[in-house]
């Protein structure tokens, strides 16, 4: 095979009129290529089938079945898990927590990153050092960040209360006060993800043509006015992307809640993902049916966010 091909090789690759010999070789090869394509795709297809699509189907199946004490699927119960879920005040509480947590992480995270990036834009020489500084928390996993913050939040010896004490403010039960705990978890989350926002937006600013800035400066636009009428509008796609991705991340947050509060106090930090975990695994409950119904809700919400993202980005592409 390869020997035939080498003898026929000196043909310019761009030529549209191949000689007869190579034509034959190509045809023979072409016939095999779809087969090779499937072999190359096979590992991925098998993996995705086993660990994404099959679990998807099984999730749906579990959500319409009861379960025995070992977590095995029991009798078909139709929509009972769903009606039970939707009528429970606990679940309403879970949805409210999820919404609040999302708002309290996405809004400060995106606005903070935007502020920092706009300020860095006019301070070219300092950009590199600051960007590295803001990126460092990206090295921290949910677990390591949460463990550090648990030490900081410690009611007796934590630095958070220490600083408040120095300011003459009473100690705060960062993780034990139901009205504060979700805020504390959000602060940890914003800290973890802030650097990501800075990276995305800084890359966006870097992608704006310098001529646009130059033209705007010649027109006398500076400082906040330049940011408001040039930089921020041109960052539109990146800002939108960041909002969607941060929202999805917030919806999926698990580690910081599990480590810092375990969903407490009194359910104050139980978000949708944490509720799924509790139904399925905590307190030996193994309520896989209810957990799967909640997993379906999680998936629908995230799918809606992603669909929104793809839809809008699609239009942006046509726009430019």
């Amino acid at each position: 095979m390869s020997t035939i091909a080498t003898t026929a090789s000196p043909e310019p690759p761009t030529s549209r009129v191949p000689t007869k010999g190579t034509d034959l070789v190509r045809t023979a090869r072409r016939r095999r290529e779809p087969f090779i394509a499937w072999i190359f795709l096979a590992p991925s297809l098998i993996g995705l089938g086993l660990f994404v699509f099959y679990p998807l189907v099984r999730s749906v199946y579990l959500s319409v079945h009861g379960n025995d004490i070992f977590g095995g699927a029991g009798a078909f119960v139709g929509g009972r898990n769903y009606t039970q879920m939707l009528s429970s005040p606990d679940f309403r509480n879970v949805l409210v927590n999820t919404l609040l947590f999302t708002l309290m992480t996405v809004v400060p995270g995106v606005l903070g990153a935007l502020t920092v990036v706009l300020l860095l834009e006019t301070r070219i020489r300092a950009t590199r050092a600051f960007r590295t500084a803001f990126a460092i928390p990206l090295a921290f996993s949910a677990a390591s960040a949460s463990v550090v913050f648990a030490v900081l939040y410690n009611p007796a010896i934590g630095v958070a209360n220490g600083i408040l004490g120095q300011l003459g403010i009473d100690r705060v039960g960062w993780l034990t006060d139901p009205s504060i705990a979700l805020i504390s978890v959000s602060i940890t989350t914003v800290w973890m993800q802030f650097g990501y926002g800075v990276l995305v937006l800084a890359a966006g600013v870097g992608g704006i043509s310098p001529e646009i800035f130059e033209a705007a400066r010649l027109d006398g636009a500076k400082g906040w006015r330049l940011a408001r009428s040039i930089t921020i509008p041109l960052l539109g796609p990146q800002l939108f992307f960041l909002v969607v991705v941060s929202t999805i991340q917030a919806l999926q947050s698990f580690g910081q809640i599990h480590i810092l509060t375990k969903g407490g106090p009194d359910g104050a930090t139980t978000t949708l993902v944490y509720s799924i975990y509790q139904q399925a695994f905590a307190f030996g409950s193994s309520n896989f049916g209810l957990a799967s119904a909640q997993a379906m809700v999680l998936m629908l919400i995230v799918l809606a966010c992603t669909a929104l993202q793809f839809g809008v980005l699609e239009r942006k592409v046509h726009y430019s």
Partner: protein, 302 residues
Amino acid sequence: MSSALSERPGSAPPELPGSAPAEPPRSPARRPGRLSGVAGWVVLVIAAVGVLFPVYYAVVGSVMGPGDLASYPPALFPHSLHLENLRDVFTVIPLGRQYLNSVLQAGLITLSQLVTSVLAAYAFAFLPLRWRAGIFGIFLATLMVPWESIILPNYLLISSWGLANTLPGLVLPFLVNAFGVFLLRQSFLQFPRELHDAARVDGCGHLRFLWRILLPLQKPALAAVAVYVFLSAWNQYFWPLLITSTPTMQTLQIGITQLSNAEAADPGLILAGVVLSVLPTLALVIFGQRFIVRGLIAGSSR
């Protein structure tokens, strides 16, 4: 600690970022005059201090003794060095073994995703394929499924195979992912089609073409995928928490949380564990920043 947030307009109503005045200190001054320039610096420095303080405290606290850590007001500098924390933490939990577990787990996942993604991306970019768009759509669809919503059936599946609390059980569900396929296909498509055809006409097999010609030119894209996959595998928490049950099978992420759950937890030991666990990813973030940017923001621009 709350200083990280205090300077941010966090109390602003949840409106679109573009319409919110993100720089209150600067708005009165039309041009970057002296005051707004200084105010900008102040905001930046406060933000940097707020972001870096937990990192600083983790590092300093990891060599602090119980005296400093329990003092009030809290000590921000160690009055005596307790480097033994970094040694003792290995005796409280099997940290060495957990380090090895994490390296194996993240390493295997990264390697496998690189290989499978390269092959699939090559098929999408260079090989004739019926239903190409449809199959690629299926790959993309898997990226939209939040892992947390299918973690339970995965747990049941891996457990039913008897792989709970084993290394294969830890890595199996993550050996394949569409993210790398997506990113690499994008990058492969930049490769001139004619060069591929020419190499093929010259009798170059697909694997040889991949290894000898294509991949050497794709190092930045491969590095981006590798760094991204390694970071997210190393930092995993939910799955290792579910699937491992003994300290010697747990990864670092679970190990360090066990430190803080332990009775009479010593903050110095806890922070020592955190600092040790963060070192590899810290090195990646500092030295591999450009690859991280590329991997993390793939998709943000177009």
